[in-house]
């Protein structure tokens, strides 16, 4: 097991003993990526914040039962984040079907940068296309690009084979290319 994973096992053991400082180290280390993954799946900052808080709360409550050396904490955390996001997306879809053209929220633009605005337009088109993808494809893309996970770890998070993840990502990219080409033709 990698040195980073061993260190995380130690942090989790300390968190399991009730050491808040160790737990905060874990939130500092994984909070940004967990938030980014949740944001790219849900498309809403408020939902993403709630999901990440819930995931870390579960980590805190179950830290004493963590078994070192069996899995990476980031894998566990991302799995919880993805599942919570998908649960929310399904619940929201039951209440009010999300319009396909709904835009995901972007970070605030840098003030006065025209180039940045043009780039943001393109990124917005990408986000809209991602938003329209099936949720598993969206989750796989979010884990790779927002979470920085490799395909093997994405497979662990989504509980799929590596081949199935490759196929999921391939279909997602093909679909995105088609949607973006259609959007540019308009």
């Amino acid at each position: 097991m990698e040195a980073g994973a061993e260190e995380e096992d130690l942090l989790l053991a300390a968190a399991g003993r009730g050491e808040g400082a160790a737990f905060r180290r874990l939130t500092e280390r994984h909070g940004d990526r967990a938030f980014s993954v949740a944001l790219r799946i849900t498309g809403r900052r408020g939902d993403a914040e709630d999901v990440v808080q819930e995931a870390f709360l579960r980590a805190w409550q179950h830290a004493a039962r963590w078994r070192p050396g069996r899995a990476r904490f980031s894998t566990w955390l991302h799995r919880v984040v993805v599942n919570l996001c998908l649960d929310r997306a399904r619940a929201a879809a039951r209440e009010r079907p999300a319009p396909m053209e709904a835009a995901m929220e972007l970070a605030d633009p840098a003030p006065g940068a025209e180039q940045r605005l043009a780039q943001q337009e393109r990124e917005r088109a990408v986000l809209e296309a991602v938003r329209a993808l099936p949720e598993r494809q969206r989750a796989a893309l979010a884990l790779v690009h927002a979470g920085g996970l490799g395909q093997a770890e994405v497979a662990e998070v989504l509980e799929l084979s590596v081949g199935a993840v490759e196929s999921l990502l391939s279909r997602a990219r093909r679909s995105l290319r088609e949607r973006l080409a259609t959007a540019e033709e308009r």
Partner: protein, 99 residues
């Protein structure tokens, strides 16, 4: 759009960004708002001391029972023949003052 171009675009559009300060505060507050029991009790709650806890509880119950008996705080009723039936089924309704 080729694969590399799409990947670069996805990296920019979906790439990681810092968690908002409000979320960072919420995460930092979790140990304070949901304190865990530390030390021996935490070990017990984690399941490691359940057997020891059970044995200790049994010993405590036995000691309490012995003490109650020896100090007559829990009196033993001495029943005469026939009383057991009455205790089990309640007094004869015919003897009760019915409205």
């Amino acid at each position: 759009m080729d694969e590399k171009e799409l990947d670069a675009l996805l990296d920019r559009a979906l790439g990681p960004e810092p968690a908002p300060p409000a979320l960072q505060r919420r995460l930092a507050g979790i140990p304070v708002e949901h304190p865990r029991r530390a030390g021996l009790l935490a070990g017990w709650l984690g399941g490691r001391g359940l057997a020891a806890g059970g044995l200790a509880a049994m010993a405590a119950a036995a000691l309490l029972g012995f003490w109650l008996g020896s100090t007559s705080l829990a009196p033993v009723m001495e029943l005469e023949e026939g009383e057991l039936v009455t205790l089990a089924f309640g007094p004869d309704l015919g003897e009760m003052d019915l409205p």
